[in-house]
Amino acid sequence: MTRFSLEDESVFVVIGSGAAGGTLSNELARKGHKVVCLEAGPRLTLSDIVNDEAVMFDKLTWLDKRMATGKPNPQFPVWGCKTVGGTTMHWTGACPRLEPTEMRARSTYGELRDTTLVDWPITPEELAPWYDKAEIRMGVTGKHGMPFLPAGNNFKVLAAGARKCGYIDIDTHNMAINSISRDGRPPCQQLGFCTSGCAISAKWSTLYTEIPQAEKTGHFELRPESMATSISLSEAGRVNGVTYLSGGKTHTQKATGVAVAGNVVETTRLLLNTRSARFPHGLANNSGLVGRNYMRHFTIQVIGVMPGKVHFNRQTHLAGVVRDERPHRPERGFVGGFLISTVPFSPEILAKHLLPGGWGRDLTSVLDKYDQLAGLLMTGEDPPQLSNAITLHDTERDANGLPVPVVHYEDHPNTMAMKTYAWKQGRKIYEALGAEQVIEMGDDIPATHNMGTARMGHDPKASVCNPFGQTHDVDNLFISDGSLFPTSGGCNPTLTIVALVLRQAEHINGRIHTGRL
C-alpha cells in the first residue's frame, strides 16, 4: 500500500471518492502523479452489500445533520452517500448524454424569467470525445458495441404503453451496468436492488473500479473516514494543504493542488467554511456565486395497477427509457424536456411515498396488488435560479462542530408546468394498456441529482470556475463534481460528470507537466 507523508508538498489532494473524485484520482495516478483521496465515509467490500434497502440505507447514506427551507424535506433535503464510491454506490447506472440544445440552453430557450440560464462554456462538439471515453470506461450499454441489457417486465409494460401513445424512441437505456462480463465484473443478474449497492459489482461504482485501479499504480492513497474541514492558502494565494478529521484527530495534508468532489452540498460547505482575509466570503468565492444556482432535477413517478402480474421489483431498476419527450418543444408550455424511465419501489417505500402522509384503504388497496404494479420515473430539466442556494447556518453545528448546510430550493414555474404535463403523459402510458388504476406520485423523494453551485463559465464575475473546473480565483484549486454544471439538462448527471472529469484530468496533467501547478 502506498503511503504519503502529510508533509509531502508534491501530492495532489482529491476530496471525495465518487464518480468525480474516484475517477479523477485514478486518472491522475495513471498519469504518474501522486494522489491522496480523502473520503468522509468508510470503505465497504462487496460482502457488506446485502439486498435490504433499510440496512443499505443506513450503511450508505450521508446522514449528518442538514437543514432546508422551501420545498425540500427540512431534515433530509438531499439523498447522498457517505462511503467510498460516493453516490456511485446507490445510483441507478443510467448514462444519458446531455443534448446539444441543452448545452446551449440560453440560446435555445431564450430568456426565461427569474433564471440565470446560460450556454455551457464548452461546446457539445468539444465534449463529445470525452463522452466517448467515459462510456467506454464505464461500459455503457448500447454504446461502442456494448450490448443493451435485456428487456424486463416493467420495461415491457412501459414500452407497450408508450408505443400505444405514439412514442418511438424506446429501449433498455444506456446503462453503466454490465450486460456481459467486462472489466473483471459479471453481467447483471436482475437482482432488483440497484439503489442499495450492487452486490455483484455489475453496476459501475468507483469502489471496485477506479479506486483499486488507482491503487495498482502505486501513486495513490485512499484515506477513508477522513472528513475534509478546510483548505489552506499560501501567502501567494494558492492552496497548499487540506485539513481533515480522522479518528477523532485533526490532520493537515500538504498539497500541490486540490480538487473538490464532495457532491454539491459538501463541496459548497467546504468552500464557504474556508474563510480567510483574502476570501472572507468563502474560498474562491469572489463572484459570490458559490452555493448559488443550486439545481436538482425533479423526479416524479407514475404507478399503474395493471391488469396482470408485472413484478416490477424483479429487474434492473432503470433499464428502460422513452426519450420522445426529451427535446425542447415549447408548444408543450415549457422549455427543455424530460426522460421517462422504468422504476420499481419496495413495499415500504411505496407505503411512505405513494400518497404522502397517506393511510387507509386508498393506500392499502394499491399495496394489496403489489405484484401487478408497473412504475415509471420522469426526470426533467431544472432551470438555474440565483435564489436556490446552499448556505451555512449561522449557529447550528453538526457532530464534527462544522456549520450545518442549509438547502433552499423552490420549483421554477417552468418546472411546475413540465411536471403537470409529464404526469399527464405518464398516466396515458398505463391507461393505454387498461390499467385498473393510475397513481401520480409527487416530487417528494429527496434530490439525488445536485448541480450548479460552482458553475463553469468564462466570466469570473458570472461563474466560479473556468471551462476546466479550475476556480477563477485560485489557480491550483479545482471543482470536479456536479457543482460545475451551468445548467442541468434533462437527464441523469453522472456520465457528464465523468466526461468532464476525464477532460479536467488531462488539463491538470498538462499544467503539472508545464510547471504551472
Partner: protein, 170 residues
Amino acid sequence: MIESHMTRRSAVGRLTWAALAAMTASVRAPAASAPVPDVRTASTAALFRSLFPHDRLSQVFYTRIAAAYVAELGRTPGALEQLDQGLGKLDASHIAPFLALPAVIQKSLVEQNIHLSFLAAALMRAPELLYRDPEVWAMIGYQGSSIEYGGYKNRGFDDIDWLPQAGAIT
C-alpha cells in the same frame, strides 16, 4: 361531536378494555395461541389496522407489530405516555373504546385526530414495521433479497405474458 362527550370515556374502565381487547383478539383470530395482549398493545393494533387495513392480515399479525412498536417506544422516555394520551383521545367517543368500534367509525376517529403527534409518529414508523415484514411480503408478492437465488435473471424477470405484443418487444 364525538370528542365533546368526553365524560363517557371515564365510564369505560381499564378492566373493561382489557376484556374487550381479549374478546376482539380471540374473535378475529380463532387460532389464538398468541398470548392475550395488554390494552395498550390491543388498542395500538386496532389503530394500525385502521391506518393500514389489509383484509388478509390477521389480528395476531397486527398485534405482533403493535407489540414491537410499543416495545420500541418503551425505550424512549415519555413516548409511551404520548401514545397512551393519544389512544385516550381515540377512546373518547361516547360509544365504546376505539378497539371495539366498527372500522368505519375508527377511521373517522383517526381522521379527526390525524394532526396529533402520536399519530404522526405512528404513520412514520408503522409502515416500516409492517412493510418490512416477510408475512406481508408473502401476501402481496414481494420476495425481498434475491441474491441468494441468483437474482431473477433465470427466474422470470421477463416472463410477462398478458401484454398485447409482449413477444415482439426487444
